[in-house]
Amino acid sequence: MTGRSISYKHLSAWLFTLPGLFVQFFFGWFPILFAFFVGFQQYYLVKPPEFVGTANFREVFSDPLVLTALWNTFYYAFLAIGLTFIIPIFVSILLMEMAARTIRIMMLLWFIPVASTAGIAIWKYMYNPTLGLMNGIPTLFGMERWGIKWLDDPSLAMISLVLPGLILFGPGLIYIAALQNVPEELYEAADLEGASFFRKIRLVTLPRLRPIIAMMLLFSIIGSMQVFELPFIMTGGGPGYATTTVVMYVYNLAFGAYNLGKATALAIVLFFIIMTLIIIQRRFFKENLDD
């Protein structure tokens, strides 16, 4: 190859990369890095911001609501991951046992989508104490209706947020794709050795899915520790502060109280908590068994 064609190749490589680079820099990385600046400033509406050292962080740590929000966030993540994370894995494994045509029909029906805020609105309606179906189900069978207050009951509100994910169990697209790549011979070999149903799941299927499970667990930790929309729309953080999560409190501090510095300081605290969880997860759940 001549020198000219190499430089031409590099020029077009960078031209292709440039728009993505621009967007990913300005809206991806820069705001993340700039947060560490915002967290140490006091923001005013028109005046330039003022450096205030660790004042925002001291405010965060002395705020009892921060503790409540942290507790709620851990509680939600614990419920969401503990109760619903393994469901799609096992449903996908079981789905693979069906005939190809059945798999197709089931998947088509299962993945019929509803817009996300629409889905939240449906469940908000379902949970309505007098008009909602969650209390009305017994009346369909001629019984008295349950007097459960669901989202209005502080001790049930958080569980009610997670419950739809438990009731509406289903497979996961990513797991199905990964399962299709497991070579059939492995199962045949296990059959020859007389391995039982569950033994095959444990010794053949799960090890094969391990990298995907590790990655999904990571995304699920990141996602559930940052939950915002679901409690914001379903409960508005209530009753009281029973479902106020950290990101919701960050939002309230920033756009309700206009305390941008304190909001970002809290976001930084959550950032380090999640990064710690990620490091722990990666240490205990290696993606590759050979490592």
Partner: protein, 339 residues
């Protein structure tokens, strides 16, 4: 097929276990479909039925009144929450389509070009660095960027509340506010780290010889990408377009923060939240209700209207699913996470 061996399929025990797995899965399918059916059924009920016979599974007197109500606008004084009715839903529907459409139009070419360059054009060292630059934000909790991104969008490209001046003068440097514009939502979504992974994983599987051959024929890099690579990438493009579209359509926090004060620009995701909030903050027992709310409730705004709005918001998502279902069903494979 794999867990239950092919031999001995006729044995009673094998058939029983296959049957129970099938039953369990069908229950899951039905449970998934039920809220959808409930949403459609409730949207067709008259308001009186919603309140008087709340648990009817099938509407006694089906009516499209809720849909008609949503597509008319209500004038006059409206209290907070009820003010979503100032515009007919067609306005909000178009807003949602603009935001989601422009996001797809920007995000897919930008992301695909970056992924192609990283996969096939860059020298190995640059490629590895760029790979982490592009997908790394997925591995970092993004909530930390909420406030800084808002600051950045309000005085782009200056991320502070005060725009810096040209040194030694009082002239402010140029800045542009994306708050209250669609661009404040679309620009941050113009690149997607997740779709980048999908594109790169796909381009990695294509043989380099294809590009070499195109170059031999004298095609420019752009021509190679457009004429050779993209036709092959059609399945990935379908999946990424679907994710870009649904992601933008479902986005709530972005429009909520950026378009807060511009009601005429709200997408449906914000409007459905507002309507839902109006319905739940109002109680039937409440005597001292403000007249605007009273008027709306008596004209038929209840959970039937909310569900009708949910149906309207879901139709484009459903159509996108119908269009792209074949590619989605093949499954998405994320490969090349190791760089």
């Amino acid at each position: 097929m794999p867990l239950i061996p092919k031999v001995g399929r006729k044995r009673f025990q094998t058939r029983l276990s296959l049957f129970s797995i099938g039953a369990f899965l069908w229950i899951g399918v039905l449970l998934h479909l039920f809220p959808v059916a409930w949403m459609i059924s409730a949207s067709l009920k008259p308001t009186t039925e919603i309140f008087e016979k709340p648990f009817n599974l099938i509407p006694e007197k089906p009516t499209t009144a809720s849909y008609e109500l949503l597509f008319t606008s209500v004038s006059g004084f409206l209290s907070t929450g009820a003010d979503v009715f100032r515009y007919p839903m067609s306005v909000y529907l178009i807003n949602s389509l603009i935001i989601a459409g422009l996001t797809v139009l920007l995000q897919i070419p930008i992301t695909a070009m970056a992924a192609y360059a990283v996969s096939k054009l860059h020298a190995p060292r640059a490629a590895r660095l760029l790979f982490f630059f592009f997908f790394g934000t997925l591995m970092v909790p993004g909530q930390i960027a909420i406030v800084p991104r808002f600051l950045l969008l309000s005085h782009f490209p200056w991320p502070t509340t005060a725009v810096p001046t040209v040194p030694f003068t009082d002239i402010s440097l140029p800045s542009y506010s994306f708050i209250g514009t669609y661009w404040g939502i679309i620009l941050p979504a113009a690149f997607s780290a997740f779709n980048f992974l999908l594109f790169k994983g796909f381009f990695d599987t294509l043989p380099t010889e294809l590009i070499e051959a195109a170059r031999m024929d004298g095609a420019s890099e752009m021509m190679t990408l457009r004429k050779v690579m993209l036709p092959l990438a059609r399945p990935v493009i379908a999946v990424t377009v679907y994710f870009a579209f649904t992601g933008a359509w479902n986005d709530f926090l972005g429009p909520w923060i950026i378009l807060m004060s511009e009601q005429g620009m709200w997408p449906l995701s914000v409007v459905i939240y507002k309507l839902q909030w109006f319905l739940t903050s109002w109680q039937p027992t409440q005597g001292s209700m403000d007249p605007a709310a009273q008027r709306l409730i008596s004209s038929g705004v209840g959970y039937n209207a909310l569900m009708a709005l949910a149906v309207i918001e879901s139709i484009p998502i459903f159509l996108a699913f119908v269009i792209f279902r074949e590619q989605l069903m093949k499954g998405i494979q994320i490969s090349g996470l190791k760089g």
